[in-house]
């Protein structure tokens, strides 16, 4: 049986991978995907805590899974808005590489 620390380690590694992608990659879309990876790593932590911390009635702690539900929904909204911004950015500058996006003024 996998223990709580195994789940926390795996989720921490996924978060580290996402962080590495955000820092290392220069394509805005891939940076955005790595943000999604980091959000999912947080979700894995929440679900693991929900399973391993059992309230008196013996069922998993569903408050944690509620938070995951809300995180997933907010992430979906965030992706829609973020991708619209990226498309607008591409139309204005013809590039989505972070190195070439150096000024805020359009």
């Amino acid at each position: 049986m996998a223990t709580l620390n195994d789940y926390l380690l795996v989720s921490g590694l996924l978060f580290a991978i996402g962080l590495a992608g955000v820092v290392l990659r220069r394509n805005v879309i891939i940076v955005f995907m790595c943000l999604e990876l980091m959000l999912s790593a947080a979700n894995l932590t929440l679900v693991a805590f929900s399973r391993f911390n059992v309230p008196p009635n013996g069922l998993p702690d569903y408050n944690g899974q509620m938070l995951v539900f809300f995180v997933i929904t907010v992430a979906a909204a965030e992706v829609a808005v973020g991708l619209a911004i990226i498309v607008a950015l591409y139309r204005a500058r013809q590039t989505i590489h972070t190195d070439e996006l150096t000024s805020l003024k359009g």
Binding site: T3, I17, E36, L59, F70, V87
Partner: protein, 187 residues
Amino acid sequence: MPSYLFWLFSTVMLIGGVSVIAFRNPVSSALSVVTCFVGLAGLFIGLSAFFVGVIQILVYTGAVMVLFLFIIMLLDLKDEEKAAKPLLPIAAGIALVAAFTVQLIGILSRTPNVIAPNLDKETLAAAASGFPATSKIATTLTQGKLPDVHLIGHTLFTQYNLPLQILGVLLLVATIGVVILSKRQAD
């Protein structure tokens, strides 16, 4: 969940994650994210969070990643050319990630470890007394099955009703915002 399934799904997830940043082609990266999320959904289902696992597949790999692929193809992105990258930012990034990982392992080695509490038939049947006897949740629990979706619905609509409404407003605002964002650039 047996140990080997945990390590199988974790490996799939972590390999998917690493290949997201390793591939140069954005489409390959997007498909690696899909692989990563499928492994993650396996872990969710292994933690008896069936609803979250299915939602992870449906919403993330089904909708969100298709949206990503759609935008990648709309913008017609080419592979990143192998330009000489400045070495200092890369070294700083790797050092940051390594420091995070070392810290994580250090903390985890000192925290008390927990094994998963049992979710066997007796526990589930005993939990049925907390719900009305004729309800679907209670009857399913008495049969020794975990009515995951019913329990999530119960929690969502009793304890989290207001956040759910606010979430609906948020989705509406996001929809309107996206329409306005894509309208404005047409002028």
